[in-house]
């Protein structure tokens, strides 16, 4: 589905950790993001959506966005918007001041 170029990582996360089948996972993610399941594999739509929610993007020096969330920061936003616990985010919160 294109991974973080689109929403493949978000759908995969619902499969991997929640055991959702593809259609259910796509519908769940699309509903949380206010898009259609069709949009989830479109990098044009999803780049805008990922920017809006701070979900992390492809980054290189040619398309830098240092002001946007990425890596572990992005996963905090993904956990909040998708309303799913992400293990490393929970652990990050336990081990730092992030959850206080």
């Amino acid at each position: 589905m294109g991974g973080i170029r689109a929403a493949g990582d978000l759908v995969a996360r619902m499969q991997m950790t929640r055991g959702m089948r593809l259609r259910e996972a796509k519908e769940y993610v699309a509903a949380k993001l206010g898009v259609t399941p069709f949009d989830l594999s479109d990098p044009v739509v999803m780049t805008e959506v990922r920017n809006e929610h701070g979900f992390g993007r492809i980054h290189s020096y040619a398309i830098s966005q240092p002001w946007q969330a990425n890596q572990i920061e992005a996963k905090f936003n993904i956990a909040r918007v998708l309303d799913v616990p992400i293990n490393c985010v929970e652990k990050f919160g336990e081990r730092t001041a992030a959850s206080r």
Binding site: M1, G2, G3, I4, R5, A6, G8, D9, V11, A12, R13, Q15, M16, T17, R18, G19, M20, R21, L22, A25, P37, F38, S41, F55, G56, I58, H59, S60, N70, Q71, I72, A74, K75, I78, P85, I86, N87, C88, E90, K91, F92
Partner: protein
């Protein structure tokens, strides 16, 4: 008499062969019948066979599914020091290749090897989670054979069986599987604490029924302990070898199970993803192989409550047995799995 043109397609070993559409269709029917005869599954319907024929009787360099029908690719082995550090490999797969999910692993991939470096692997997972966005699992193959002598502590059942020492061979397998369950749970304990999103038991059942039992039991324990930790159970072959022959999980004998029954047990154990495998016959065409694979996995899809990701690569899932699978073959297999089986991923 009709003079049909010949279409370039491939054998299961990847070599090109030129077949007519009628020959491709005949191979599809034969592959389907082979599955039906061996596994007692329904053969493909006329419509399904024609659909596969349209996919395989094409000389297109590359093919694909319709826009909007994309599926998740599970991308095993993405962080195994292919070209840089393992974390850089994971970042490359995420950032450059658009991998839907990532997997940290060691090159050997065997559970018994990883058990000696759990702390190092957990530290690596911890660091990798800080530097990636896509879901990241830890992958390992149970590879129960390494628990037998001379590599491991248990008697070697592969030596005992030809000698007719069946009780000793069974006892050795039972001893090994108990060790493997403990090691799998310890691995999951450390990976969970490090922030892993899931554990992937890959090529499960390579050592037959005791190995599958170990994976099922470990999955059940892990999912009960850590409900937020996913567990992917991928198989080694289409048929569970009865190396022991009497082992059961929840009252079901494991030896001789085909993909549908394997999936049902994986679901009962609490797995969050299941990867059925159909091995490639290198002496048959890809048309024969895809028809057999689709017929064997189709019954899975009818009872699946968790995502099903058939294995498709290097000798499984109608992808040729060669180191660099050709894109024409890979894309045809992927399209076939999506359009005929509506798989959740590959």
């Amino acid at each position: 008499m009709k003079n049909e043109g010949r279409i370039p397609t491939r054998m299961g070993d990847g070599t090109f062969v030129r077949l007519t559409r009628s020959e491709i269709r005949a191979d599809l029917e034969a592959g389907s019948e082979a599955a039906a005869k061996r596994a007692k599954v329904p053969p493909l319907t006329e419509e399904e066979t024609e659909h596969l024929c349209d996919i395989y009787a094409s000389s297109a360099r590359f093919t694909g599914v319709d826009v909007g029908d994309e599926i998740v690719l599970s991308c095993d082995g993405t962080g195994m020091k292919t070209h840089a550090t393992r974390i850089q490999d994971l970042q490359s797969y995420e950032q450059w290749m658009g991998a839907d999910l990532l997997e940290l692993c060691v090159g050997d991939y065997s559970l018994k090897v990883v058990r000696t470096i759990l702390a190092y692997e957990a530290q690596y997972m911890h660091d990798a989670q800080l530097a990636t966005v896509a879901p990241l699992q830890y992958g390992v193959m149970p590879n129960l054979g390494l628990y037998s002598k001379p590599d491991g502590p248990c008697d070697n059942w592969n030596e005992l069986l030809p000698q007719g020492r069946i009780p000793e061979a069974r006892a050795a397998q039972e001893e090994a599987l108990e060790m493997a369950v403990l090691d799998m749970v310890r691995l999951a304990d450390t990976q969970y604490e490090a922030g892993a999103d899931a554990i992937d038991w890959d090529t499960t059942g390579a050592s037959g029924d005791p190995e599958l039992l170990a994976a099922l039991r470990a999955t059940e324990i892990i999912r009960a302990k850590y409900p937020n930790l996913g567990a992917q159970l991928g198989m080694a072959g289409e048929f569970v070898l009865g190396m022991h022959g009497r082992l059961e999980y929840k009252g079901v004998r494991l030896a001789g199970l085909w993909p549908r029954e394997q999936l049902l047990l994986a679901q009962q154990a609490g797995a969050t993803m299941f990867g059925p495998v159909v091995n490639v016959n290198t002496g048959k065409s890809l048309a024969w192989n895809i028809a057999r694979a689709i017929a064997l996995i189709k019954p899975c899809m009818e009872v699946a409550t968790i995502p099903v990701h058939p294995n498709a690569g290097m000798g499984v899932g109608a992808v040729p047995m060669c180191v660099h699978p050709p894109a024409d073959a890979v894309s045809r297999a992927a399209k076939a799995f999506v359009e005929l089986l509506h798989v959740d991923g590959l």
